[in-house]
Symmetry: C3
Subunit: 294 residues, 3 copies
């Protein structure tokens, strides 16, 4: 259920959190502006992550058609491929941190710098501080701790929902992608929505897209590295519905966040995609691997 | 042939109508401007529709690999999934109407408001009035009537072209996607092109993309609801070439309409994609369902 | 290996050349601007090319499921489909030349016209002249000669790397997509990078994306036409990893070049996608055709 939770967190932050933020913010403000360069940059990173997560599945689909003696698919190759991709992801993540915390930090503070000072109270205060004032080292440390905490909490959640899941007849993949993701990201939800309702869109988008970026570029590769430490190598191969969900979510997020302005309809559009994906995962039987696996 | 006509109308308006408008408008005006926010909003709605139409096919491809006893694919599930998606589409459509006719109607009238008054004659007058002056109720009523009319006309067309089709050796899917769509959307074609040649790009794009939006978000779900009333439930599962055509059309429309300006080359590019898709459907044998169906 | 070289040149110019240009240029200049309309136009042309290259594979996948007696897949049909698409591509290429050399040439010279004069020396001088001063006829002539030269050079390269390839245990597709593409495009690499480091982004992007456009819209169809002259018709059907690579490259290039500004992180993002695709092709066994081919 780990991979399903990763997928769910990525699409949940992009669609549900950003959708609710744009919708509720848009009900108060006719048009909301944000820094286009920063938003596009984050979405590009997510697109890179989505590409990276598609590749192991493309590899499986193609290589599974070839006998092993001629270089066909083996679990070992899938793991090596995934390990290589994990290094690219974590490398890009470090570059992203350098960019947003050092060389181009002004983009991410933007015009809302002045207001940021007097908004240090309230639900958004914690997240805002993270973006504005923390050192790189502290940010990374907090990220690591938060990651472990989220992983533990997710496991805890999974345990406590297992009974309910079976009684309700829900599949593991639905619970992983939808239920755990909603509960596990409750903090991001409230912070991002409160920020949007205060018209602090850079902060709101930073939390929503930033959370997806962290999960795809930091949590996913760290899980791969950790899996080697525990002697049970994990690959980055996701099921076809999962990669479809991630790719389509990035596509609509790119379309919506690419012009530096938002309104309530864009929120509805993001939420509609989330509901459509929720319907898919609700009806989907338990399939954890690509179709051609035997 | 109903689904093929839906596909054909969606891609026909986006590629052929918008392509001809940009091309012929661009021959007269070196660069044409339009309201970027309105255009992006419509394209986003189309992207949402394309995502919604991809999902039933993804469901089929994955769920068909699983035995029915373990939650595998059944026609019943496909219909329920499609019904859920139809509700999301019609809900988003209502939100889109609220947005374009009520909360943000100024975006869709734009700077061309003044000229709109003295342009109430000519081919574009009818469509312009629809966007500017009609009440929500009247608009919806006209839409309903127009939809039924188009459906009847399409059926009539299909009947009258059937003989010609067999003599020419064309497949049903080619006639549905290309021929019926061209003839069935002749009114949109002329209105949108005349508007573009008068440099009224907001109106031209409103007609072209707006027609695609109406078909995907209004006609398609209404057909699903109606199919239940007639006791022959219809699902929203399209063939792989159809969803490829819709997704690729939305991708190029998003790329072209995303910056608020057009030129003749963009018209050529849209038309080129339309011709390429036409070639595909010309060579394609009669396959109405996804590849794995037995 | 011809098709693998085409794929490699398209993605190499878009990802490696543009990535290095943005990265190295971005290290010197915090933010670099370029003409958004010109860049979007080139990317749109690439998207059209990517769509055109996807279609023969979609055709194969779907038509291979149908018996030949009912209109199923035959090599003849695939060639006819490819020939039709080749005509669309070359027609669009001619339109693109008209646009960039005649009707809208000011977009491609842009604000950098003045500086262009005093920059006629150095590594970028050659390429710059091509864009600014050459007549259409001369440009086309040079293109033709350059194309034949590149083709010959690629063949020569392929011959000389064949021994090394087998000793290193690399697959043909990896060598074609990655190694030959890097060496074969060395000239574009240095010109584009030097231009970016002089903050001449319009020129740099013109070389990088322009080279991809030339290969996809000019070299690929010319190879198809030439193959008929030699009596060994070639189709435009690429393997699934190849079309995935091209589509995903265009997607990230569209996202990055769509806003008319670049920074070093965008370079890193393009390079990261290139490395991820390199890892895929490194692990991929020799598969030249789509999965369902028997």
């Amino acid at each position: 259920m780990v991979k399903a939770s990763l997928t769910g967190s990525i699409i949940g932050n992009m669609l549900l959190v950003m959708g609710l933020s744009f919708f509720l913010g848009g009900l108060k403000f006719s048009e909301q502006k944000f820094n286009r360069t920063a938003a596009r940059s984050s979405v590009t990173t997510l697109l890179l992550a989505a590409i990276a997560l598609v590749i192991p599945t493309v590899f499986h689909l193609v290589a599974a058609e070839v006998p092993v003696s001629q270089g066909g698919w083996t679990p070992q190759k899938e793991q090596n491929l995934s390990l290589g991709i994990a290094f690219v992801l974590i490398g890009t993540y470090i570059a992203t941190l350098l960019f947003s915390l050092k060389t181009h930090k002004q983009l991410f503070i933007g015009g809302s710098h002045a207001e940021a000072a007097d908004a240090a109270d309230g639900a958004s205060g914690h997240a805002e501080t993270a973006h504005v004032g923390w050192s790189k080292g502290k940010s990374i440390g907090v990220l690591l701790v938060a990651t472990i905490f989220v992983a533990l909490m997710s496991e805890f959640l999974v345990g406590s929902v297992e009974d309910a899941r079976q009684k309700l007849g829900l599949t593991e993949v639905f619970v992983g992608v939808i239920v755990v993701a909603i509960i596990g990201n409750a903090a991001e939800h409230s912070s991002a929505i409160f920020a949007a309702m205060k018209n602090k869109m850079d902060l709101s988008i930073g939390i929503a897209i930033g959370s997806s970026v962290q999960i795809a570029l930091f949590v996913a590769p760290v899980l791969v590295f950790a899996s080697y430490a525990f002697g049970k190598p994990m690959d980055l191969e996701f099921s076809i519905p999962e990669i479809a969900a991630v790719m389509l979510s990035v596509a609509i997020a790119a379309q919506i966040a690419g012009d530096g302005e938002s309104n309530w309809l864009e929120g509805v559009q993001l939420l509609a995609v989330y509901v459509v994906l929720g319907i898919l995962f609700f009806f989907l039987p338990e399939v954890h691997h690509v179709a051609t696996t035997k």
